[in-house]
C-alpha cells in the first residue's frame, strides 16, 4: 500500500476514527487499531469496539492498493503533533508502515488485520430518515447527559428515539429527571422507535458531519451515513418505560423567570447546598417572586429571590440543584418557564418560545 493524504485531512480522520477504537486492553489487539484501506473506491479508515463502528472516507491519492492496521493510540499521537500544511505519505512494506511527512519519517509496526471485524450495516434498512447532522449532534449531546450512567438498567442508560408524524423525539432519563427533545423532519413518512446507548450516541455525535445524513435502523443496529462515511451503533434491546405517564397533566403554579437571573441565583445558592445538594424552591404569587433557599450546617445559608411572573398558588419544594441547572444546557431560550403541580410531584421546566424541550425533575423528600 502506498497512499498520500493532506495532513489536515489525515489528522481529522484519525481523531474521528480513534474514538471508535477499543480503549480497554485485554481484548483483541486489532480492536484498538485503525484499519486503513486503499483501493478502487479511495482511502478508508475503519475502527470498531464492537459497540460502535466507523467507516470513514478520506480524500487522498492512492498509488497502490492495500490494507493495514495500525494501533489507534500511536496514530492519534502522531496526528496531534502534525504541523504545517502539506502531505503525509503512508507506505506499507512487510509488517512496517512508514509515515513520511516533510523531513520526518516514522516506521510503525502494524497489527495483523485478519481478525478485524466486519462493520455491520443494518440488514433491512427500510426505516430511514434524512436529517442534518448538526441537528442530530446537538440532540444527542444535550439529551445524552440526562441518561443514567449505570449499566444495571440498559434502557435507562440509552436515548429513546421515536419517529412519528414527521417529528423525531429523543428522550433520556435516569429516573430522577427526564429530558425530552423534539425536532421536525422533512420526511414525514417514516415511523419507528429505537434505543441507542447514550455512551455510543455521545461518541457518534462527535463524529457526525454537519451536512445531511441518512439515519437508518433495524431491530438491533442503526447506521448514520453521510457523504464522508458511515457510522454504526448497536442498539439497546430493551423496552423503554412509558415515560409519558409521569409527566403531570396540569399544574398548580407557573413561574416565568429570566434565564440569566435563574442561572446566577442558582449558582450562588448552590454554594450553600448540603451534601445532598438540596435547594429549596419557593413560589410566591403574592410578592410576585420566585426564590431559592439552601442551608448547609457547616457553611451557612442563603436565599435568593428573583422577580418572576407567577400565576397559581404558593408552594415550597426541594430539588437537587444539579438537576435544576441542567436545564440551562438543554435550551437556549431567554426565559424559562417553571411549572409545579404540588408537593412530591415533579417540576416541569421549559424554555419560553422553545416548544422542542420538556425537562422534568423529581423533587427531593422534604
Amino acid at each position: 500500500m502506498n497512499i498520500s493524504i493532506e495532513k489536515k485531512e489525515f489528522s481529522e480522520a484519525v481523531h474521528t476514527a480513534s474514538r471508535f477504537a477499543e480503549r480497554k486492553s485485554g481484548t483483541l489487539p486489532v480492536l484498538s487499531s485503525i484499519l486503513i484501506l486503499a483501493g478502487d473506491d479511495g482511502i478508508k479508515m475503519r475502527a470498531t469496539n464492537l459497540e460502535t463502528g466507523i467507516d470513514l472516507k478520506i480524500n487522498g491519492e492512492v498509488k497502490s492498493d492495500g490494507v493495514v492496521a495500525i494501533p489507534a493510540v500511536v496514530l492519534q499521537q502522531i496526528a496531534s503533533s502534525l504541523t504545517n500544511d502539506g502531505k503525509i505519505d503512508l507506505e506499507h512494506t512487510g509488517d512496517i508502515v512508514s509515515l513520511v511527512s516533510g523531513m520526518g519519517k516514522s516506521s510503525i509496526k502494524t497489527v495483523p488485520y485478519d481478525d478485524f471485524p466486519l462493520i455491520p450495516f443494518p440488514e433491512n434498512p427500510k426505516n430511514r430518515i434524512v436529517l442534518p447532522g448538526v441537528l442530530l449532534r446537538s440532540l444527542f449531546t444535550t439529551v445524552a447527559s440526562c441518561a443514567s450512567t449505570s449499566t444495571i438498567r440498559p434502557e435507562l442508560s440509552s436515548i429513546y428515539i421515536v419517529i412519528e408524524g414527521g417529528i423525531l423525539t429523543a428522550v433520556a432519563t435516569d429516573s430522577f429527571r427526564l429530558a425530552e427533545k423534539k425536532v421536525p423532519l422533512s420526511n414525514k413518512g417514516t415511523q419507528g422507535k429505537f434505543l441507542i446507548p447514550a455512551k455510543n450516541a455521545m461518541e457518534i455525535a462527535q463524529a457526525l458531519p454537519d451536512d445531511d445524513i441518512i439515519m437508518s435502523f433495524d431491530e438491533n443496529q442503526c447506521a448514520f451515513v453521510g457523504n464522508t462515511g458511515m457510522i454504526v451503533s448497536r442498539l439497546t434491546n430493551a423496552t423503554y418505560p412509558d415515560y409519558r405517564q409521569i409527566i403531570p397533566k396540569e399544574s398548580i403554579v407557573e413561574a416565568i423567570v429570566l434565564r440569566k437571573d435563574f442561572e446566577m441565583a442558582l449558582k450562588r445558592t448552590t454554594v450553600f447546598s448540603d451534601s445532598f445538594q438540596k435547594v429549596r424552591v419557593s413560589f410566591d404569587p403574592k410578592k410576585k417572586s420566585f426564590s431559592f433557599f439552601a442551608r448547609n450546617a457547616d457553611i451557612g445559608e442563603s436565599s435568593e429571590t428573583l422577580p418572576a411572573q407567577i400565576s397559581g398558588s404558593a408552594l415550597d419544594i426541594s430539588f437537587n440543584h444539579r438537576y435544576l441547572s441542567a436545564v440551562l444546557a438543554l435550551t437556549s431560550a431567554e426565559s424559562i418557564s417553571i411549572l409545579a403541580s404540588g408537593i412530591g410531584r415533579p417540576l416541569i421546566l421549559k424554555g419560553v418560545g422553545d416548544t422542542s424541550l420538556l425537562y422534568l425533575v423529581s423533587p427531593m423528600n422534604q
Binding site: 485485554g26 481484548t27 464492537l50 459497540e51 455491520p120 438491533n220 454504526v232 430493551a238
Partner: protein, 450 residues
C-alpha cells in the same frame, strides 16, 4: 454432559473453542454469548450481544461451532444466531444438578451432625485380636453399666491402632442400647476451638451447659490439650461435673495419661482415675482379619494369598492398611473383579517404601557435603572433631537405613575395625534421643539421600 441442556452444551463448546483460538479472541467474542435454546428441529440458537457478533460468528466461527456440536451429536442440524435483549443477557445461574451414576461413594465420611459420630464405626466392623482384646472387653463393660464400672475409660495406643474406631463404636452402640440418652463425640482440638470461640463471643456459660448435659462424652486425641491451660481447666471442671453425675466419659490419646507432657497434675490424675488400657501393635493374624473384614464390607472377596500379602508387606498402622485395602477395592470396583496377587503388587507399589540402593560413596558424599568437609578426610585416619562426627553419622545411617553389616561399614570407610563402627552407631543412637540438633541434622541428611 447432557446434550439437551443448553447450558452444559455451551460450556462444552466453550472449552473446545478456547483450545482453538487465542485468549484475546475468545474473551472478545465468546464471553457474552450463550445458547438460548435448542429448537425442536435440532437447531441450536446462540444468543449474541450485537450485530457485530452475529456477522463475525457467521463469517469466522460458524463452521468451527458446527463441527464441535456435531462432535457431541449428529442430531444437531444447524446453528442460528440471535441478537438477544440486553435484559436477558445475564442468564440466571442454574442450580447445580446433582449427578448420580458414575460417582464413587464417599459415604464413609458421612458424619451424624447431632453427635458427630461416624456411623461407619461399629463393633460389627471392629476386628478383635490379642492386641485389643482388653480394650474391647473394657468397652463392653462400659456399655453394660455406663458411668459406673470404668469411669473414665482411657484408651491409648499409637496412631492407626483403632482407638477412634473403638470409642466411636462405643458411642454408636450406646445410642442403640440406650435410646433417648445423649452421646457426643469430639476431638480435644474441637473442644479447644469451641472454648476459645465461646470466650470470644462471651458465651462461656452456654459452653459449659452445652457439654454438661451429655450422658456419654467421648473425647478423642486428648494429648493435643497439652499447654492449653485454660481449656484444660475447663475440661477439669467439665470432668468433675460429669463424673459427679455418673455420666460416662471416654478419652483416647496416643500415650498414657502420665506421659502426656504439659498438662496439669490434677487433670492427669483424673484421666488415669478410671480404667487405662493400651492398644498394642496388631499381630499378623489380626492384620489379616482386618484386611479380610474391610474388603468383605465392600463386597470384595480377596484370595488368601492377596490378604496375606497385603497384611505382611507393610508393617505400620491399621490406617495405612486400610488405605491399601481401599485402593484394591477401588481397582476391583473399576474393573469389576477382584485383583490377583500380581495386580495387587503392581497397584500397591506406591505404598511400599522405595527400596534404597545407594552406594556407600554416595552417602559419604552427601554427608560430607552437608557438613561442608572434604569427603577424603572421612576415609582418612584423622580424629579431628569436625570429621569424627560426620563419620559416625555415616556409620549410623549405613547401619540403620541401609542395614549394612558392621564389618562392611568398617572396611568401606577406610579399613576400620567393626567394634569402632558398633561404638559409633551406639553413640549416635544414644545422642539422637537427647540431642534434638543432631536428630534434625540426621533428618535433613535422610531427605537428601532419598
Amino acid at each position: 454432559m447432557d446434550k439437551g441442556n443448553p447450558r452444559e452444551l455451551w460450556e462444552y463448546v466453550l472449552t473446545q473453542i478456547e483450545l482453538s483460538i487465542s485468549p484475546a479472541n475468545f474473551n472478545t467474542w465468546f464471553r457474552n454469548s450463550f445458547i438460548v435454546k435448542i429448537g425442536e428441529d435440532s437447531v441450536i440458537y446462540i444468543g449474541v450481544p450485537s450485530q457485530f457478533f452475529k456477522d463475525w460468528y457467521l463469517k469466522k466461527f460458524h463452521s468451527l461451532l458446527l463441527k464441535i456440536v456435531r462432535d457431541v451429536s449428529y442430531e444437531f442440524r444447524n446453528i442460528e444466531y440471535l441478537i438477544v435483549k440486553d435484559e436477558h443477557r445475564k442468564i440466571p445461574k442454574e442450580t447445580k444438578n446433582v449427578r448420580g451414576a458414575m460417582e464413587l461413594p464417599l459415604d464413609e465420611f458421612y458424619i451424624n451432625k447431632s453427635d458427630s459420630l461416624n456411623p461407619r464405626y461399629t463393633f460389627e466392623t471392629f476386628v478383635i485380636g490379642s492386641f485389643n482384646n482388653l480394650a474391647y472387653a473394657a468397652s463392653q463393660a462400659v456399655l453394660n453399666r455406663p458411668g459406673i464400672t470404668y469411669n473414665p475409660l482411657f484408651i491409648y495406643g499409637d496412631t492407626g491402632r483403632g482407638k477412634t474406631h473403638l470409642i466411636q463404636a462405643i458411642g454408636n452402640q450406646f445410642k442403640k442400647q440406650y435410646p433417648g440418652q445423649k452421646v457426643f463425640y469430639l476431638t480435644s482440638e474441637k473442644f479447644v476451638v469451641d472454648y476459645t470461640d465461646s470466650v470470644q463471643a462471651g458465651t462461656a456459660n452456654r459452653f459449659k451447659d452445652k457439654y454438661r448435659h451429655y450422658d456419654l462424652l467421648i473425647m478423642d486425641d486428648i494429648q493435643f490439650l497439652s499447654k492449653k491451660e485454660k481449656s484444660e481447666e475447663e475440661l477439669f471442671h467439665l470432668f468433675n461435673a460429669l463424673h459427679d453425675m455418673n455420666k460416662q466419659i471416654i478419652f483416647s490419646s496416643d500415650r498414657s495419661p502420665v506421659s502426656i507432657p504439659d498438662i496439669t497434675e490434677r487433670l492427669k490424675g483424673r484421666l488415669a482415675s478410671g480404667m487405662t488400657i493400651d492398644i498394642g501393635e496388631p499381630d499378623p493374624e489380626s492384620r489379616m482379619a482386618i484386611v479380610k473384614k474391610k474388603a468383605a464390607s465392600h463386597g470384595v472377596i480377596l484370595s488368601d494369598e492377596v490378604i496375606e500379602y497385603v497384611a505382611t508387606s507393610m508393617s505400620g498402622s491399621i490406617r495405612e492398611l486400610e488405605g491399601m485395602v481401599n485402593s484394591i477395592i477401588c481397582h476391583a470396583q473399576v474393573k469389576g473383579f477382584a485383583p490377583d496377587i500380581a495386580e495387587v503388587r503392581q497397584s500397591l507399589r506406591s505404598f511400599t517404601r522405595p527400596q534404597k540402593n545407594i552406594s556407600v560413596k554416595n552417602v559419604v558424599d552427601r554427608v560430607a557435603e552437608y557438613y561442608g568437609i572434604d569427603e577424603e578426610s572421612i576415609y582418612e585416619k584423622t580424629r579431628r572433631r569436625e570429621v569424627v562426627r560426620p563419620r559416625q553419622v555415616i556409620m549410623y545411617l549405613l547401619r540403620e537405613d541401609f542395614s549394612a553389616s558392621y564389618p562392611t561399614i568398617g572396611t568401606k570407610l577406610g579399613g576400620r575395625d567393626h567394634t569402632t563402627v558398633i561404638h559409633s552407631c551406639e553413640k549416635i543412637k544414644r545422642e539422637v534421643i537427647v540431642d534434638s540438633e543432631l536428630a534434625k541434622e540426621i533428618q535433613d541428611i535422610r531427605t537428601l539421600l532419598v
